[in-house]
Every structure is written in C-alpha cells, then in structure tokens.
C-alpha cells in the first residue's frame, strides 16, 4: 500500500505532495460549487419547482455566477465592528474546513490521502476550530442577531461534537485503528461487512450529530432565518460571506465523506472503480441531508441542547458498551 509517510522526503516526493494537495483543492472547489447547485436542484424538485435553470445549460453555471457575483461585491466592514476580528474570523472558520479533507481516503490508490495514523482524531480536532471562527464572526459583527447566532452555534456545535466523537469510537474499536485508510480496509474483511451493520446505532447517532454540526435543517438554529435573519454572518458581504458559505458546504462534503469512510465501506465495492464508489456513496449521504432539509421544521434551541445531552450522548455511550461486549463475546 502506498503511503506518503513511508517515503523519504525527497524533492520529487515533496512536489508530488504539493501537486496532490492542489489537485484535491481544485477538485473540491468544483465539487462544492456543484454541491450548491445539487442542493438547489434537489430541494426545488422536492418542492415542485425547477430550480436554477437560467445560467448555462440547465443552469449548470449558476453557482459559478453566484461565486463571481460575491467576489465582485463590495467588502463592507460595519463601522462599529471589531475590525481585526471581523476580517480574520471567516479565515479561521474556513482553513480547517479544507485541512480536514487531507485525511479522507478517496480512492484505493491513496495518492491524495495523508494516511495519518490518527485520522479520525485529526478530523474531529480540526473541525472544532471552525467553531471559533463562527463565534468570533458573530461577536465581531457587533450585531445582536449575529451575536445570538454565534453563541447558539458555539453551544450547539460543542454539544454535538461529543456524541459525534463517541459514535465514531465504536467504529474505531471494531477496526482497532484511528487511521481512516485502515478502517476502510478492515471493512473489506470484517465478518459483518460494512460497519453500518454492526454499528447501526452509532451510524444513526453519527448522522444526527453530523447534521447538527453542519447547522443543517432541522438543526439550523444558528442561522435560523425566521428568527435571526442570517445568524452569525448577517453582517458579512462579498467574499467573506462566500468564505462562510464555502466552509459550510466543504464541511457538508467532508462529513459525508467521513460517514462513507467510517460506516459505508469507503471506496469498497465491486466492478466500478474505487473513486466512483466513493463518489456514489458520498452523494447518497449528501442527498439524504438535502432531503432532510426539504422536509423538516427547525428544532427549538433548548430542546436541541436537551436532545444532545439527554438522548444522543447516553445512546452513544450505550453503543460503545455494546460494541465492547460484542467484540468480547463474538
């Protein structure tokens, strides 16, 4: 198996790494752009609408036009905002979003994968940095809606980080590794097949916590339009706003990719090339999230916290216990 760590750091290898990173970035930017398009189309179809259809054939260039528009917009910093923080917050939110993508094993070839031994931990640790960016953005805007939105996000994302981490633990126990690549390889030979079967409870917890982490409906309280206008990024315009949007969609992709890797066997699958399997599974997870988005009303903020602490965490704990017993007995 190919892995970057086992190679000596020669000049050639270094260039290879850089090229790999750039390729991943470029592909992902494209993927994210089309994610937005996909979201708008799916939700539109579920609502008996057509969705974007004016820019380019079938509206395919709609997202590009949107991004362009955002880039061309004036970058407004409110007069009463905390200027330095206001400017830096979107970047703090955005950088980890792209960084976590380094550990996701997209294909069986691993040319684009960092193959870290602590991949799971790396993902969870880095993704929590984004919360900082969001809270800072909400605080620095000096707007009441932003502040409430930012605080809500902080509370929500920190609470849901815990069940998210715990639900992953079951998988880690079964696979005996924190390395995402190893986890996928284990699933190929595991007697239960993909981990969604022995870890079904963990999977459900993971999905719920993931949706909450993403601030997606029904957990989209931080940006609850009907209450908080746009939440923490109410005051943002132009490409800083685009950064927040991008962060959200990159995480949407990243967490779906993580779910695919952990529970759905990653790139595994017969006949088709491995990257295609990965793409299909990830798209299915993403579709599910969009589907939720088209159906659900929003949870209430106090219920939300209650749900995390009183339901999800005990269930996740129980799952860990069950997994432990299972691996002892079977």
């Amino acid at each position: 198996m190919f892995s970057w760590q086992t190679q000596p750091l020669t000049g050639l290898n270094f260039i290879g790494m850089v090229i790999g990173a750039v390729v991943v970035l470029a592909i992902l930017l494209l993927v994210v752009m089309y994610l937005i398009f996909f979201l708008r189309k799916v939700v539109a179809w579920m609502q008996n609408r057509i969705g974007p259809n004016r820019v380019g054939p079938w509206g395919l260039f709609q997202s590009m036009a949107d991004v362009l528009k955002l880039l061309l917009k004036e970058d407004i910093v409110p007069a009463k905002a905390d200027r330095a923080l206001f400017l830096v917050a979107p970047i703090i939110a955005f950088v980890p979003a792209f960084t976590v993508l380094a550990v996701i094993p997209y294909t069986a070839g691993h040319i684009f994968t960092a193959g870290l031994n602590i991949g799971v931990l790396f993902y969870i640790a880095l993704s929590s940095i984004t919360i900082l960016g969001i809270v800072l953005g909400g605080w620095a805007s000096n707007n009441k809606y932003s502040l409430v939105g930012g605080l809500r996000s902080a509370a929500q994302m920190i609470s849901y980080e815990i069940p998210l981490g715990m639900s992953v633990l079951g998988v880690v126990m079964l696979a005996g590794s924190l390395n995402l690549t190893t986890i996928v390889q284990q699933q190929a030979t595991d007697r239960f097949g993909w981990y969604i079967i022995p870890q079904i409870i963990g999977f459900v917890v993971f999905m719920i916590a993931a949706v909450a982490e993403l601030n997606q409906t029904p957990f989209d309280l931080p940006e609850a339009e009907s209450e908080l206008v746009a939440g923490y990024f109410t005051e943002y315009t132009g490409f800083r706003f685009a950064f927040y949007m991008l962060t959200e969609f990159v995480y949407l992709f990243a967490i779906s990719a993580l779910a695919t890797t952990l529970f759905l066997g990653g790139w595994l699958g017969p006949w088709l090339p491995s990257w295609l399997w990965f793409a299909i599974k990830t798209s299915a997870v993403i579709f599910f999230m969009f589907w939720l988005r088209a159906t659900m009303p929003r949870l209430r903020v106090d219920k939300l916290m209650g749900f995390a602490w009183k339901v999800l965490i005990p269930v996740a704990l129980f799952n860990i216990l069950l997994t432990g017993l299972l691996s002892l007995l079977v």
Partner: protein, 367 residues
C-alpha cells in the same frame, strides 16, 4: 472589584424582518434567550382606510376593503356590502347569495392554506409553504376567472355580485373540491405528525378561555380554547343557516390547537362549498339597487366571521351617499393584543412560533 452582572438586551424585531409577516415591529427585551417584555409597535402599513371611506361612495369603498386582509379579500368585501345591505334593508337575489358563500368559503380555504404554509416557514420548514401555494394558486385562478383579479377582487356589490359565474366555473369548483381534500391529507401526513413540529407547538403559548374572552379574541384564537363561537352559527348572516357544518374547536388553546383548527376548518369550508354547489339556483346576481346608494341616517353594525375572527363594519350615516364615519373591527388588530402577554417568559425561538400562530395580517392590523 466590580461585581459581575448580566444585562438585558433590547432587540428590535422588525419592521423589516423575515417572519413578522409584513411591516410589524416587536420590541422585545431579552435576558439571554428569555423574553422579559414584548411591545408590539403597529402602524407601519396604516393607510387610513376608515378616514378615506368618509369621502367615498359605498361602491368606491369596496376596492379599499380588498386591501385590509389581503389574503382573504372576498370576506372583507362581504363585510362591507353586508352592512350596507343591512342598513338599506335590501333584498339579495338567491344566486348572488350562493355565489358569495362559494367564493367566501374558497377564500377562507386559501387564507388558511397560507397560514399553514407561512407558519411552517416560520418554524423553519420551507417545503409546505411552496406546496400550499399550488392549491392557493388554483383557488386564486378560480377567482381570476370569476372577477378578473387574483388578490384584490372587488367582486361584491351592494345588492349582489359584480358578475355571474362564467360558464363551466361551477364545474371547475366542483372538480377542485376532491383535489383539495386529497391534498389536505398530504399536508396532514407531511406536517401534523412531525415530532419536531409537535415539540415546538404543543403546549406553547396557551390561552385560557377566560383570557381569550377578556382580551376580546375571536376567530380561531378564541375557538382553539374550546369556546364554540362562530358567527356563521351564532348569528347566521346571509344564507349560512342553510348549510350543515361543524364549528371546529380546540381543547388546550395552544399553538398546535390553533394550527389544527385551521386545518379542520378548511375541511368544513369545503363542505359548505359542496352544499352550496348542489343547491345553487339560477337567476339574477344583482338585486334592485338604486343608482346612488344612500343609507338612511343612523348607526349600523354587522359583523361576519372573517378568516381571522369577527370582522365587523360600523357605519354612521347622515343619510348621504357617503358614510359620515366608518369603523372597521379588524380581528387581527384585536387579536394582536394578547401577544405581549403570551410572550413574557418565553424563549426567543418560541416567539416566532407564538407570533405565527396568532395569525395576523398586517394589512388588517394597520388598516
């Protein structure tokens, strides 16, 4: 050392805010996410309809009533012409009365549909809003065919209605009814059982019967508390005594009951339309009305069951062709009173759920 203290925050919600349903401003004082005080500020859409009416002939006032509760304009039209007819003691042709009932009940359905959609949108679900607009569109299209407008109908006249139904219109309405019933089932499946929705509306913003009466609430806000009060039954006007229908009441007076009453009331309205379609007679649609409409001097008040409650028109006439003074009892305005009381002690997120369920239309609040 200074002692640590927390501050209350004053939050201005509106007049431009996505979920205040128009230009409505609510000044809330919040302590964290808890509301300590709420103060509604109205008047941003005030057009002075009552004052304008003093310089208008009665026929000319009708299009102005369209702009009160703009999602149920047929009912507003009727409220006005009904008072004028009552004052003049006019005889209304049967067919006109039936047509009125049909369009009014259809309009009630359209209005309630919009409530359901907009309420769910407030709670964060987008799809129901777009679904209900499809059925609303059908009703609006029916209105477009009968009176040429989709929102501001100006369809009723003193003594009857402006136009008879175009050929085939009644059949179209008849076809619409089963479709609508089918769709109501779909909405029921989509919304009413959703646990997230239920957790947000059950036991939320409870109004007791005594409070409801004390605050002079009417319409669904009153009926959701369990009081069986519907002007169509209590003081039947027009030909409502000819139809069999139930008055829908709730039990707990919470937001869910208000939502649910809207739902059930739509079914009742469809029943009324069905009965009206069965027995609609032929004949003229405009009775014998003098060319210049004059009301004998005196004071007149009648009220009808509007989409949002008791919709009353009070006219003081000095015998001229224009009212000396006109007062509209707009249910949204009266129902809004209870909002400040309902909101105190609630969570910010509940504010939207409660405000949405009180179901105000700003055109009507501000007149």
């Amino acid at each position: 050392m200074e002692t640590l203290h927390s501050e209350e925050m004053i939050l201005n919600i509106g007049p431009q805010h996505p979920s205040t349903h128009g230009v409505f401003r609510l000044v809330v004082t919040i302590d964290g996410e808890q509301i300590v005080a709420a103060d509604p500020v109205v008047g941003y859409l005030h057009r002075g309809t009552e004052k304008l009416a003093e310089s208008l002939q009665y026929t000319q006032i009708i299009p102005y009533t369209d702009r009160l509760d703009y999602v149920a304009a047929m009912l507003n039209n009727y409220a006005l012409v009904h008072t004028v007819e009552y004052a003049m003691d006019l005889e209304i042709p049967e067919r006109a009365e039936y047509l009125r009932v049909i369009v009014m009940e259809l309009n009630r359905v359209a209005s309630h549909l919009l409530f359901v959609g907009a309420y769910l949108l407030d709670l964060g679900a987008m799809s129901p809003f777009l679904y209900v607009f499809q059925e609303r569109e059908m009703i609006v299209q029916l209105f477009n065919e009968i009176c040429g407008a989709r929102l501001t109908y100006n369809y009723m006249r003193v003594g009857g209605v402006k136009w008879d139904a175009p050929p085939g219109w009644l059949a179209k309405v008849r076809d619409f009814l089963p479709h609508m019933r089918e769709k109501l089932k779909m909405y029921d499946a989509l919304i009413s059982g959703n646990e997230i929705f239920l957790s947000r509306v059950r036991g939320m913003g409870v109004i007791t019967q005594e409070e409801a009466v004390a605050y002079s609430l009417s319409g669904i806000n009153l009926r959701s508390t369990g009081l069986r009060f519907d002007l169509r039954k209590k003081r039947p006007y027009g030909i409502y005594d000819k139809f069999a229908f139930d008055v829908v009441v709730g039990q707990n007076g919470d937001c869910f009951d208000r939502y649910w009453c809207h739902f059930l009331e739509m079914e009742q309205s469809l029943n009324i339309v069905e009965q009206a379609l069965e027995s609609i007679p032929d004949g003229p649609v405009l009775g014998k009305v003098p060319k210049l409409i004059r009301i004998p001097a005196g004071e007149y008040y009648t009220s009808i069951e509007g989409a949002r409650g008791e919709l009353g028109v009070y006219i003081v006439s000095d015998g001229k062709d224009k009212p000396y003074r006109m007062k509209l009892r707009r249910p949204s305005f009266v129902n809004l009173q209870i909002l400040s009381k309902l909101l105190i002690g609630q969570n910010m997120a509940n504010m939207i759920a409660i405000l949405g369920a009180v179901d105000i239309v700003l055109g009507e609040v501000d007149a």
